[in-house]
Amino acid sequence: MDAVAAPPFERFYLEHRDVVFAFLARRLGRQAAEDAFQETFLRALRAYPRLRHARELRAWVFTIAARVATDEHRRRARAPEPSRPEAVEDGRPAYAELDDLARHLPPTERAAVVLRYGYDLDYADIAAALDSTEAAARQAASSGVRRLRRKGIANDYLD
C-alpha cells in the first residue's frame, strides 16, 4: 500500500471535530462529551506523527473517541457493578483483543470489526466513523469477520 502522508493536524482536526463531537454527545451526553472531545483530540495529537499512512483517518479518530467514551462509561460504572460485558478471561478488554486480532485486515474492515465488536457501536455510528452508509458498515464488519474466520482466527466476541 502506498504511504499517504498525513495532512497537517489542523486540517485533520477541522474535518473531524464536528462528527466526533456528535458521536461523543450521543454516547455520553453533551456535558461529558466536552471533556471527552478534548481527550480524544489530545490522544490523536499525541499519536499523530506515528501514523504510517493517512487512509481512514476518520475511522482512526472514531476508534480513539470510542475508547475515550468506554473509559468514561467504565469510570461512571466503577462504583456499583460493571454494566457492560467487557471483562474477559485473559483480562484484556474486548477492543484491545480485537484490535490485535484484526490488525491485518484492510483498514475499513478492521475499523468496522473493532468498532462493532470491540466497542459495541451500532451501525449508524460505524457508518459515521467510516463516512459511509449503515449497509456498507454492516457489510465491512461482516466481511472482516469472514476474513478472520478464514484465517482461523476465532474470538468469542465475533459470535
Binding site: A6, P7, F9, E10, R17, F21, F37, L42, R46
Partner: protein, 186 residues
C-alpha cells in the same frame, strides 16, 4: 452538530499547552494586511503576507512536522511585538527565530540581515560582502525574496546599488509602507 467556539478554543489552548505541537500559527491584522505568523518551540519560523492558510500549513508540516495547529497563545509575543512595531513604538524585535531549515550561506545572510538597523538601508551587494561572498549579490536578492520571516528579518531595508527599491516578496507597495513607517521614505 457543530462544536461551540468555546470548546474549539479550549482544545486549541490545551493542545498548545501540551507541548505536543510542532508548529502553532495564527492570523494577524496589520496595517500591511493580514499576516500569518508561525512559531515552533525554537521561535518564530514564518511570517507570510497574503496568507493562504491551507498551503501554509502544508509547507509548515513538511518543514517542521505534521502537528501544525492554529492557536493564539503561542503567537502572543510575536503579535505584541509586531503591534508595537506598526504603532511606531518598537525599533528592534526581541523574538527568537527558528531557522533550522536554512542552508549555511542563507543562514549567514539572514544573520547579517538581522543586523541592519531600523530606519537604515543596505544593498544586496553589501549584504553579500558581509556574509563573506562579495559576488553573491544576485543570490542574496533571491534569498530576500524568499525570506521566511519578513518584517522581523528586515529584507525591506535592502535596496539596489543605485538606491532603487527593486523588489519585495510581499510586493513593492508593502516595502514602501514599511520604509515610510521607519522614516526612510517621506
Amino acid at each position: 452538530m457543530t462544536i461551540s467556539t468555546d470548546l474549539d478554543r479550549r482544545f486549541r489552548e490545551a493542545a498548545a499547552s501540551s507541548g505536543l505541537l510542532d508548529v502553532a500559527y495564527d492570523l494577524l491584522d496589520t496595517p500591511v494586511g493580514p499576516l500569518l505568523v508561525a512559531v515552533t518551540d525554537g521561535g518564530l519560523c514564518r511570517v507570510s503576507f497574503d496568507p493562504e492558510p491551507e498551503r501554509e500549513a502544508d509547507a509548515l508540516a513538511r518543514a517542521y512536522g505534521v502537528r501544525v495547529l492554529r492557536a493564539s497563545r503561542p503567537v502572543d509575543a510575536a503579535r505584541r511585538e509586531l503591534d508595537e512595531y506598526f504603532a511606531g513604538r518598537r525599533r528592534e524585535f526581541d523574538l527568537p527565530t527558528d531557522l533550522r531549515i536554512e542552508a549555511p550561506f542563507r543562514l549567514a545572510v539572514l544573520a547579517e540581515l538581522a543586523r541592519v538597523p531600523y530606519g537604515a538601508t543596505t544593498t544586496y551587494g553589501e549584504l553579500a560582502r558581509r556574509a563573506g561572498r562579495p559576488r553573491a549579490a544576485r543570490a542574496v536578492g533571491t534569498f530576500m525574496n524568499r525570506n521566511p520571516i519578513p518584517i522581523v528579518l528586515p529584507c525591506h531595508r535592502v535596496v539596489g546599488s543605485n538606491g532603487a527599491l527593486v523588489g519585495y516578496g510581499g510586493g513593492l507597495e508593502r516595502k514602501e509602507a514599511l520604509l515610510r513607517l521607519e522614516g526612510v521614505l517621506a
